[in-house]
Every structure is written in structure tokens, then in C-alpha cells.
Amino acid sequence: MTDTTAVSKATASTNSQAPVGPLREFWAYFSENKGAVAGLIFFMVLVVVALLADFIAPHDPIEQYRDHFLVPPVWVDGGSWDFLLGTDAVGRDILSRLMFGARYSLFIGCIVVSGAAVVGIAIGLFAGYLGGWVDTVAMRVMDILLSYPPLLLALVFVAILGPGLENAIVAIAVIQLPHYVRLTRASVMSERSRDYVTSARVAGAGTLRLVTVTILPNCLAPIIVQAALSFSTAILDAAALGFLGMGAQPPLPEWGTMLAEAREFILRAWWVVTFPGVAILVTVLAINLMGDGLRDALDPKLKRS
């Protein structure tokens, strides 16, 4: 009798393909989503603009041109090529302010997400894994935080801390916290009874290692998606606080603050109101598109094979 096990190795394959690695597979799914890719491209452009604002912005963002109050954008009657998107009430170039404003938005997003994620994940991991009173206390606190409408809570925190960009960031990070805690905790709780965790524990892994090395990587997918969502929510919330006068204070060219200053001119000078809002919209849209793409690419249930 021929030895079949040796034979199977020698068999050539025709209709077979080698399985693709995880990173390439992720990119294959992600890039299928044209919107997500467009979002990614826009986001990278934004990062570049923010980093190079000093060099590519036509004007200084806080310089006031006394002779050029409320100049309309270049394509409208009365516009000028010096100020492509027009000027605001005190003669500052809107385009330059938008470019520098990108820095604030990106900065806010990064700090809020990192802060909320790191602290939130830590709390969630331990609450979920240890259970018992640690879990109960953590979840009660998160429930209380979640029972307030987010913007209101952020407002109150800022009222306590005083208006300003840094305080706004802290306030927004705190209100994002419960999302990470809940997400991590839910993932941990469903993973902790799985066989691979038990076998790691039996092999002698301590709690810290179990939680960070064994369980955490398997919970990452929803957290990554949440991070994208948080980033965009942070930008929107910061803009809202700025609009209400509680966030970044003038003359900082934060997009929301720009809208607060522009409010009285909505009927007279529409461009002062329109462009900062468009900037916020497009940025948040790009990030949300990326977030959607991330979610679709990372969710095993939606995979086609």
C-alpha cells in the first residue's frame, strides 16, 4: 500500500491560493470601502496642513488687518486674492485661521482619546476581570456619569475648572471614559471564561499578565473603532464648548470659537460662519468614515469568507 501521508505533501495545487496575512487582509477589506480610504487621505492631508501651517498659511492667524474687516471670499464681489476665504470682523484671514485651527482640533482629539482610552481600558480590564465589588463600584460610577447628557456634564466640569482649552480637554476626556470602561469590561467578561484564558492561567500566568497580554489583544477591535468615534466626538464637543464660550478662548483660532465670534454676523457676512463649520464637518466626516471602515474591516462577523 502506498503511503498516503507522504503523498499529500508532494501534491501540487492549482486552484489554490496562499492565505493572505492579517495586515494585508485588513487592508483588503478597508480599502474596499472607498469612503474610508477617502477619509484616510483627507485626514493625512489635514495632519500635514496642521504640521506645516507655519509655512503654508498665507497670513498669521492672529494678525488683524484694520483696513480689511469682513472681506468676502475671493469669488464674491469685493473679495481679494490676499484673503482667499475672506476675513472676519477684526480683519483676520479666515483661511490661515482654519489652517492653524486644524492643530487645535487634532491636538484635542489625540489627547482626549489617549487619556480616556488609557484610563478607561485600565479600569475596564480590572473591573471586568476581577469582578466583585471592584466591578460594582466602577460600573456604578460609570452609570452615574452616563446618566448626564454629555455636553451638560462637560459644561459643568468646565464651570468648575474654569473656561479654557485645557480644561475643556479634561472635561471631554472624563465624559468619554465610561464608553471605554464599558467596552473593555464587556469584552473582558466574555473572553475571561474562554478556554485560552483558562489554559494561560493554568500555565501559571499572573493576573496582570493575563489581563494585558492574553485578554487585551482580543478586545482591541471594538476599542479601536470606539477610538475613532471618540476622536470625532471630541472635536465636536470641543467646538461646542468653544461656541458656548467655555472652551478655547479667543483669539485662539479653534474652529468652534471662531463660530462663536461669528454668530452676530450670520446675515451680514455668511463666510465667517460657514467656513469654520465646514472645516469641522469635513474633518469629523473623514474620521467617521475611517471609523466605519475600521469597524467593517475588523468585525469578524461581517467578513465574507
Binding site: 502506498t2 491560493q17 492565505p19 465574507r304
Partner: protein
């Protein structure tokens, strides 16, 4: 006249990794009132071919066939709307997981009478009476009370009986049972199988039983079709198959049955069913076949004749010995 004629059915799925051929040139024919079993491992395409027949596959599937006829109706050219008149009425299917196959938001009575209303009409009273009758037929105690029960309030076995009741509500000519007992307790398995056989007798309907359990096949079927990796590799009557399997895969399956074991160790088949990435050139079973030789790895076999059980093999087994190839004696 043949009730069901399938000729050269192929189903391909579009995946991120390429096209996956789940069913590869399968042919099948079932007569009125016949009991056919389709056997195979997971991944053999046995469920997919029947789902394709019923039109229940997702949009990622491409179905091609030379012939797909049920009761004289050409299913290939039929419109979706016309097909819906046949499905659930003359051709019905029950599935493997009874606990998830019933809608959790609607009562059992609603789900049964819905099938009746769609195909047969009639008044609410007649439908309700028929539903009670059906539940009695499938052996569910206290049928009037059960009509108002929700699926999660019933056990797996009871849910499967309800599924059967729904399927036979319009007296179908063909019932396809896709592993109906796999998810149930062993004791319930026997009951459900007996029920299916009993109903078949009473209603005179044809039954296609899909299973991976050769024991079930031995006890129930008249004819058997064996599938491997999407292809049909053998088809015979049950008695003949058990007596003299012609395809090496069938032979290996049978020898793995505990009842047939000789000696202390149960013989197993080395290797696994080929998936998307390791489809061999030539015969799909060759990598695992005890009787494979050079030609097997290069070229796929043609289907042998009826006396060899239509085996998809270059050298079908006859009483355990591979037939000679073109007169050459093999060692």
C-alpha cells in the same frame, strides 16, 4: 416520472479570498415518494446544494446547472415570484438548529398558520384547526395550548416538531431534511427520525435526508448519495452501498463506523477536507486515499457506470479491491 432532477449543479461563493466552489457538478434524481440520503463530512456541499435548490443562498452565491427540475417545473428559468409558490408548499425544507430556526417574536401557532395562509388561504378557523391537527400529527402533546407558546418556551425536540409541522402543512411532495437531528439529544433523535419516516408513509412524500451519520442512513434510507468536497463521489442503494462500497471514500467512511471495527483501534481517515487554499489538482480525495496512484493526482476521474455506483474514481473498488485500469495489473 422523476420528481426531482438535478444535473451538473455548481455553486460558487464570492469571498474576499477568491471564488470558492462549494458544489461541483453534482447530479441527483429523486422519484415520487422516494427516500434518498445525502451523506458527507462538513464541507462536502451537501447542505449548499439543497439550499441552492430552494433558492435560499445569499447574493454572494453563483448557481449554475444543466438541469434543475422539480415536478416538471424548470427552476433555472423560473421567476422568483413563481418559485415562492412552490417553496413551502410542494417543496419544503427543515433545518439543523431548531432553537434558532423559529422566529422568537411570534407564537408557534402564528408561524404555522402563516404557511397555511400564504399557500392555501382559508378562514382563520380552518387554519387554526389544521394547525392543531398538524401538531397532533407531529406528536406534540396539548396542541391547543402550544399554539400560543413562543419558541423559547419549548425544548429543542419540540421546536423541531414544530418545524416539521410547518414544513408539511401544505402537504409537500418533497421534504428536504438538513441534518434534522444533529442538534438534538440522542433519545430525541430517534423519535424525530421515526416521525419523519412515519409522515413520509402517511403523506406519500419524497424525503431527502442530509446527514453525516452513516448509522442513520443504514436505518432509514433507500438510496444514498455520498458527497465529498462538493462533488458526488458515489450513489447506490443502501444495501448495496453497505455491502460493497465502490469509492474509496465511502469505504473509508464505513470502516470508521464503530460497529464495523475489527481490532482495538478505530481506523480513521488521515488529512482534512480541502478548503479554499489547498484544492488539489486531479482527484480531490487523492491526498487522503489509500489506493491513490499517479493518475489520481493529475487528472480528475470520470464518473463510473451504475454497476460501480457512479463512483468518481479511476479505479473503483470492487469488493475492496481497486479495479484494473486499462487492463493493467496493479500491485
Amino acid at each position: 416520472m422523476s420528481l426531482l432532477e438535478i444535473e451538473n449543479l455548481t455553486v460558487e461563493f464570492q469571498t474576499a479570498q477568491g471564488q470558492f466552489r462549494a458544489v461541483d457538478g453534482v447530479s441527483l434524481s429523486v422519484d415520487q415518494g422516494e427516500l434518498m440520503a445525502i451523506v458527507g463530512e462538513s464541507g462536502s456541499g451537501k447542505s449548499v446544494s439543497m439550499l441552492a435548490l430552494m433558492g435560499l443562498l445569499p447574493w454572494t452565491a453563483t448557481i449554475t446547472a444543466d438541469r434543475l427540475e422539480f415536478d416538471g417545473i424548470d427552476l433555472v428559468r423560473q421567476s422568483a415570484r413563481d418559485r415562492r409558490k412552490v417553496i413551502g408548499k410542494d417543496m419544503a425544507m427543515i433545518f439543523q438548529e431548531p432553537m434558532t430556526s423559529l422566529n422568537p417574536c411570534f407564537t408557534v401557532g402564528f408561524q404555522i398558520t402563516e404557511a397555511l395562509k400564504t399557500h392555501l388561504g382559508g378562514s382563520r378557523a380552518t387554519r387554526r384547526a389544521r394547525a392543531v391537527e398538524l401538531l397532533n400529527l407531529v406528536g406534540l402533546p396539548e396542541p391547543e395550548r402550544r399554539l400560543n407558546a413562543f419558541p423559547h418556551q419549548l425544548s429543542g425536540g419540540m421546536n423541531q416538531r414544530v418545524m416539521i409541522a410547518i414544513a408539511i402543512a401544505c402537504r409537500p411532495k418533497l421534504l428536504i431534511a438538513d441534518e434534522p437531528t444533529t442538534a438534538l439529544d440522542v433519545t430525541i433523535q430517534a423519535q424525530i427520525l421515526d416521525l419523519l419516516l412515519e409522515l413520509r408513509e402517511k403523506e406519500g412524500m419524497a424525503l431527502i435526508l442530509i446527514t453525516h451519520d452513516m448509522g442513520v442512513v443504514a436505518e432509514t434510507a433507500e438510496r444514498v448519495s455520498v458527497q465529498y468536497a462538493g462533488q458526488k463521489v458515489e450513489e447506490q442503494t443502501v444495501r448495496d452501498l453497505f455491502r460493497d462500497p465502490h469509492h474509496p471514500y465511502t469505504s473509508a467512511l464505513l470502516s470508521a463506523l464503530p460497529e464495523r471495527a475489527q481490532g482495538k483501534k478505530l481506523p480513521t481517515l488521515p488529512g482534512v477536507v480541502p478548503g479554499l487554499f489547498d484544492r488539489p489538482e486531479g482527484c480531490l480525495f487523492a491526498p487522503r486515499c489509500a489506493h491513490a496512484f499517479d493518475l489520481c493526482h493529475k487528472r480528475q476521474a470520470d464518473q463510473a457506470g451504475a454497476e460501480d455506483g457512479f463512483a468518481l474514481c479511476h479505479t473503483p473498488l470492487r469488493k475492496g479491491v481497486p479495479a484494473s485500469l486499462e487492463g493493467q495489473v496493479r500491485s
